[in-house]
Symmetry: C2
Subunit: 187 residues, 2 copies
């Protein structure tokens, strides 16, 4: 089995990659966040940004740095030859997937300035409004080890362009990974 | 003063960026490694890969995580409006440069596979011959915090292409950073 691990800092656009993989290439997608959300609901009865962060920390501290990955592995449909995982944040998590298949890490990068503007515009619950909050959130992500995963990515896609151009590039990248030829308009 | 901080994993090609900045844009370059090499010579009387690593560790443990950056700052010619720094490895080091000017982080990325092949071909003293040695060296770099600097880079340049194409892209990137217009053949 090939496992495409998608990573990136908040606001980089990693969800776009997962969505293109799902929509255009019919790949099953699994979000690491699903495990955290379900556990947060069980422990705290809520899924606020704060309880999600606390839950992720509890799970890692109690069951190991790769716990969320291992629980995600359990959900993977073993009959599929390629799957996509959303939200890998540490090398320990990468290792958990490497034990069950061949991994390809795709990291999405955008500058802090671009990501901040994007998150501010998005305005989802828990998204930072102030630069200081954005920096704090970045540091929490980095403390989990996401920088190491980005540094060791097999492919980095830079996302500083308009969405339609980024989607086009992601299609080409995924096409290459999957060995599917892409022409100008279709993949 | 503007300070261009160049970072990247071993074999990514970060030295190419520093060389293009120096040669094509006449920017003064400072290598963080110079501080380490001089101290290694003073402490151990040698500059082997092993004593360099030990020296860097001693300097950080004794004088602080930003020590090598602070010593590099002391060398910077304050009369220049833009300088280039080779080899930033942690956010603490970035912070030391941020105290004296406006920083722009340029990270160079290449896949582990590409970097390993490059280092093996290069065969400089201390370069890994075996994949296991390459992975160990990567982990040492990551333990210093270089992944965090890459994740928070202002610009990422992907270096999976032939050298001449990479040099051309680097010229364009530096031209944009410096506000210099580049045409097809010249910057």
């Amino acid at each position: 089995m090939r496992i495409i691990l998608v990573t990136g800092m908040p606001g980089s656009g990693k969800t776009v990659v997962v969505e293109v993989a799902s929509r255009e290439f019919n790949l099953p997608r699994y979000s690491m966040g699903d495990v955290v959300r379900e556990e947060a609901l069980r422990i705290y009865g809520s899924m606020s940004a704060d309880t999600l962060l606390k839950t992720a920390k509890i799970l890692r501290d109690t069951y190991g740095l790769d716990y969320i990955a291992r629980k995600t592995v359990e959900r993977i449909n073993a009959s599929r030859s390629v799957v996509v995982i959303d939200g890998v944040r540490s090398l320990e998590e990468v290792e958990a997937f490497r034990r069950i298949g061949e991994t390809v890490i795709i990291a999405v990068h955008a500058s802090p300035k671009t990501r901040f503007e994007r998150l501010r515009r998005r305005g989802r619950l828990g998204d930072p409004v102030k630069w200081e909050d954005f920096v704090t959130r970045d540091l929490v992500e980095l403390s989990l080890g996401i920088g190491n995963v980005i540094a060791l990515a097999d492919i980095v896609v830079v996302n500083e362009k308009p969405l339609d151009e980024f989607v086009k590039e992601v299609k080409e990248v995924l096409g290459r990974v999957l060995g599917v030829a892409c022409d100008k308009d279709h993949c």
